[in-house]
Amino acid sequence: MLLFLSVGIGNYLMRFLPLLWALRGAETEPGEPRDAASTKLGGLLPFVGMSVVGALLVTSVFPEVEDTAGAVRTATALLPTLAVAMRFGNLGLTVLVGVSAFWLVSLLV
């Protein structure tokens, strides 16, 4: 539970503090441009998220591909998963299609 609290508080502060800072900044410095450091940090942040998620995808897939059958099941299930993610962009639907595809393939392979 302490683990959840640590991550929960950290996540909350990352939502709250920048909002509070921006709301106060908007009141005291209207129209003031952001400083260079903030702009550079803001520019790199999207790359952190996608890099971490890409790495999580790799580490979550690897335990499934330890034998040939597992590799076939995973590779086959990834195709419709990727297609649905690209076509609809809905998290829930993508997860449902992915799990269903993996289940169907595992009945055959």
Partner: protein, 251 residues
């Protein structure tokens, strides 16, 4: 008669709840999948629901469940959970001009529900000209709809998901694919939104993802799996930065 697009103050929360319907539709199956995945990772029903109510961040929660399942150290789990939430830093400053004047107490309340999807809906529907009280009620309603659906979906997945696995044992290995599937969806979403932001320079986006994937795979294969994510989270942005600098110099 009020003009279209100018809700009354008392309509704020109700309007926010109505606006949360698309989020609820997306959240319910994902939360159910999380509930099942977390139970599969060895967490109890209470721990699973508590994680959703406390953390309220899909990517961090799936990562936490996955890392707990493979016995990663506490510090690494917290670090990864926080790294995955770093993107939230951008949401407050982006919404602040739309929210206008708002006290610290109200900002503290509104910030709790500021997930990716809540931010996306708020940034497209929140109107600058609404009254301050209406804006607060609206964003509170929006966040509440998302939060309740995430909590309820998690509970359904944690409780009913286990029963379904008991009846259909062949489903259990398939449900382990919920994590990779969610990461595929998140990765596509992140790359697409970044691709729109960096239309003229897509190289850094693909460079960051490719470098992160290669580094994570290499570290996993040599037995440093628990370090693959944090290291990739640093290498990816560095590669993106270098590609961006290289293009600037070439121009």
């Amino acid at each position: 008669m009020r003009r279209a697009g100018h809700p009354r103050k008392r309509d704020g929360a109700a309007g926010g709840l109505r606006a949360s319907v698309p989020i609820v539709v997306g959240y319910l199956p994902a939360a159910v999948a999380f509930g099942v995945a977390a139970r599969g990772a060895g967490l109890s029903t209470v721990e699973t629901v508590a994680m959703s109510l406390i953390v309220f961040s899909g990517a961090s929660q799936f990562a936490l469940a996955g890392l707990v399942a493979v016995g990663t150290s506490w510090l690494v789990i917290v670090a990864i959970g926080l790294v995955l939430g770093v993107r939230h830093i951008l949401y407050g400053p982006s919404l602040a001009p739309l929210l206008g004047r708002m006290g610290a107490g109200r900002a503290a309340t509104a910030a709790f529900g500021l997930t990716d999807e809540v931010f996306a809906v708020a940034s497209t529907k929140l109107q600058r000209q609404w009254e301050p009280g209406t804006k607060f009620g609206w964003i509170l309603g929006l966040g509440a709809g998302a939060y309740i659906s995430w909590g309820v979906g998690t509970w359904i997945g944690a409780v009913a998901g286990t029963a379904v696995i008991g009846a259909l044992p062949s489903l259990a290995p398939a449900l382990s694919f919920a994590l990779p599937a969610l990461f595929v969806a998140l990765l596509v979403s992140l790359v697409r939104s970044a691709g729109e932001a960096y239309q003229d320079v897509p190289g850094p986006v693909f460079g960051a993802v490719l470098a992160a994937v290669i580094v994570a795979a290499a570290l996993y294969l040599v037995g440093f799996g628990s370090w693959s994510v944090p290291v990739a989270g640093v290498i990816g942005p560095v590669v993106a930065f270098l590609i961006g600098m290289g293009r600037l110099n070439a121009d």
